[in-house]
């Protein structure tokens, strides 16, 4: 078990290294030097450019530039944002917190709703309850997350029951710690619910199918042949096996959650990584784009790593090889 975890963590290192390379490559691949344009931009001070040239080797060949960048990345110096004139790492730190809060909030909510519904539908397979839920899930899967967010914003704007946009209200500064938390949570609700609604459908369907598959497996016949009660057959024997693949799927779903979160952030004006990277793209702020891409990737890698370690805890076949 320990060896499995260590191995799994070690595997991440070359992966992240490869990701830095791809991140760098994407920005530098197209013909023409993006930085030559910067020098003509009056907004950017001579000093910034001088400083960055020294740190990142901007006048050197692209390959050498990569090693300059990498060296700096490992000392957590991700460069300076051209448009904000502050270190990229500072910007990211600010926004990353909000993105993680949004993702974690919606992941919990999604699982909390779709797992029980999935089990319910699987048990009712073929009956109207299952058909109804599956149809709703279809709709959920097919509505784009940004469109759900728009509809929710539209609804909220009509009824004005929740604050739209930002993370805090005006009175934030004077509020107590608990009020601050509640206020933050209120602002989180619109993007959070949008993202949750976008995710429930597919997770529900996966859970339903997993549960059904496990229900039809031989060990469930054994459990019934032992004369166990239906609740034990469902919630012990079937559920434990149906949940395992869900943990693996969690790793895959994470990519969708992060992408969905980014779009929802933009639509609902939630200041997270999504907005940051969009603004960076619009203002051609290359270091910020590279860094955001890399951070997004690292988030996903970490999520997958956690899923893989969790699966080892849950499944003795992985744990005790």
């Amino acid at each position: 078990m320990r060896r499995y975890v260590i191995n799994r963590v070690l595997q991440v290192i070359p992966l992240i290294f490869g990701m830095t390379f791809i991140s760098f490559l994407i920005i530098h691949l197209p013909p023409g030097d993006p930085f030559s344009k910067l020098q003509m931009d009056p907004q950017i001070s001579r000093e910034t450019i001088q400083q960055m040239r020294k740190l990142f080797g901007l006048d050197k060949p692209v390959v050498v530039q990569y090693f300059y960048w990498i060296k700096n990345v490992f000392t957590f110096n991700l460069g300076t944002s051209f448009s904000y004139h502050v270190p990229v790492s500072f910007l990211i730190k600010q926004k990353l917190k909000n993105t993680i809060a949004l993702s974690v909030f919606s992941i919990f909510l999604t699982w909390f709703i779709s797992i029980p519904l999935g089990i319910f539908a699987a048990i009712k397979n073929g009956k109207w309850e299952e058909k109804f839920l599956s149809f709703i899930a279809y709709i959920g899967i097919s509505i784009p997350s940004f469109f759900i967010a728009m509809l929710i914003v539209f609804f909220v704007a009509k009824t004005a029951i929740l604050p739209i946009g930002g993370t805090t209200s005006i009175f934030y500064k004077s509020a107590t710690g608990f009020e601050k938390f509640i206020d933050y949570l209120k602002h989180l609700l619109i993007p959070g619910i949008s993202l949750t609604l976008a995710g429930i459908g597919s997770l529900f369907r996966l859970m339903k199918n997993n549960f059904l598959e496990c229900l039809n497996s031989p060990y469930v016949i054994t459990a019934k042949a032992k004369g166990l009660s239906m609740s034990k057959v469902y919630y012990k024997h079937t559920l434990r096996n149906a949940i395992n693949p869900m943990i693996t799927i969690f790793g895959y779903e994470l990519s969708g959650i992060l992408s969905g979160a980014a779009l929802v952030e933009i639509v609902t004006n939630w200041p997270g990584m999504g907005r940051l990277i969009l603004e960076a793209v619009l203002s051609q702020d290359f270091y910020l784009v590279m860094a955001s891409l890399l951070i997004g990737g690292i988030l996903l890698v970490t999520g997958n790593l956690i899923a893989d370690i969790l699966i080892a805890f849950a499944d003795p076949r992985v744990r005790l090889r």
Binding site: L15, I139, P144, F146, F147, I164, V289, G297, L300
Partner: protein, 352 residues
């Protein structure tokens, strides 16, 4: 094809219906010049954010007209975006109405449109946008972008995925290890981040055709990795199938084994995967256009038609019909999802 449809009808009714909805949407896109009552960029200055035109059968006196008609509307309150119908004259809706000359698909010249009203009256089935452009017409023209990018993008990804996955799976060894590491790296970026980063590598202001091609390239670059990995897995397992071993034992050359035994047996899966991945491309295009990084005004796409709704609560609350393109995105995606599931059922021998 006919057998395919008959089976689809038998195994999965909803997919069968979805198939015909998709066909209908594509026909609308192709014949947008003929079906849409107005050009996509025609600005009706007097009608900004006009609500969908009401279609009447009964006039003010309660008299029934067999031919539906509309009234002329007028903007009465700019602040609240209020329109009022002018009951003095009725404008009947006519089929094959005469208008400005247009070229259908750039080939056939015609001055007849499918439907419309003559004279002063206007017909905006889905209302107008802030510039007074007919949303219905723009949706039809926008469909050309959104629907074609799905198909073209999937084809390119599929080609890349089949090639790289096939090579990786069949030859194995170091080639496989190398290619799969690259695939893994690509898959470990959240697709939206990757999409924006790829977009950032190119200038923001590009011509429409350049942007269109760029979007296709970007979406294919994002999509190929997962397809390649799936196809590799399939090839790996098919390679171990005993009928492939039997073919090797018969002394059949490798290329023929791949062509006759390996690839055809991935089809049932790949065709399903293909259909189910079209929505991803439509979504990708809409998202890019929505954020102003894709198709640029005045040319419409379902994505950029929605972008006015972001962070603009006044527009959103006063003119909710601006959200209609979103429903078209949804309709297309749900139809492709149903169709994909139907195709999977067809290929699943258990369902016969």
């Amino acid at each position: 094809m006919r057998i395919f449809l008959r089976r689809l009808k038998k195994t999965n009714k909803i997919s069968f219906i979805s198939f015909w909805i998709i066909v209908f949407l594509y026909l609308l896109a192709i014949f947008a010049d003929f079906v849409s009552p107005y050009p996509y960029d025609l600005q009706h200055r007097d009608y900004p954010m006009a609500p969908p035109t009401k279609i009447h059968f009964f006039d003010k006196e309660g008299k029934f007209h067999l031919r539906p008609f509309v009234y002329k509307t007028e903007l009465v309150n700019v602040a609240f975006n209020e329109y009022r119908e002018d009951y003095s004259k009725i404008y009947p809706i006519k089929l094959f109405v005469k208008g400005k000359k247009r070229k259908i698909l750039g080939i056939f010249e015609t001055d007849r449109y499918l439907f419309g009203v003559e004279g002063e009256g206007k017909i905006f089935l889905f209302g107008t946008d802030i510039h007074g452009r007919d949303i219905f017409s723009r949706i039809l023209y926008g469909a050309r972008i959104s629907l074609s990018i799905g198909i073209i993008g999937v084809s390119i990804s599929f080609f890349l995925g089949l090639l790289i996955g096939g090579i990786s799976g069949y030859f194995g060894g170091k080639v496989d290890a190398f290619l799969m590491r690259i695939v893994e790296i690509f898959m470990m970026f959240p697709s939206f981040y990757l999409m924006l980063a790829l977009r950032a590598a190119f200038p923001i202001n590009l011509s429409s055709i350049q942007v269109y091609l760029l979007i296709v390239v970007i979406l294919s670059l994002i999509g190929w990795a997962s397809l390649a990995r799936i196809i590799r897995g399939m090839v790996l397992s098919i390679k171990e199938e005993e009928y492939v071993q039997a073919a090797r034992a018969l002394g059949i050359p490798t290329y023929r084994i791949v062509l006759k035994h390996v690839i055809p047996n991935t089809f049932s899966y790949t065709i399903t995967a293909l259909t189910l991945s079209v929505p991803g491309y439509i979504l990708g295009e809409s998202a890019l256009s929505l954020l102003g990084l894709g198709i640029q005004e005045p040319y419409p796409s379902w994505g950029n038609m929605l972008s006015v709704c972001i962070g603009n609560l006044r527009v959103l609350t006063n003119a909710p019909w601006m959200l209609i393109p979103g429903f078209f995105i949804f309709l297309t995606i749900i139809c492709f999802n149903f169709l994909g599931d139907g195709i999977r059922d067809i290929f699943d021998p258990k369902k016969w």
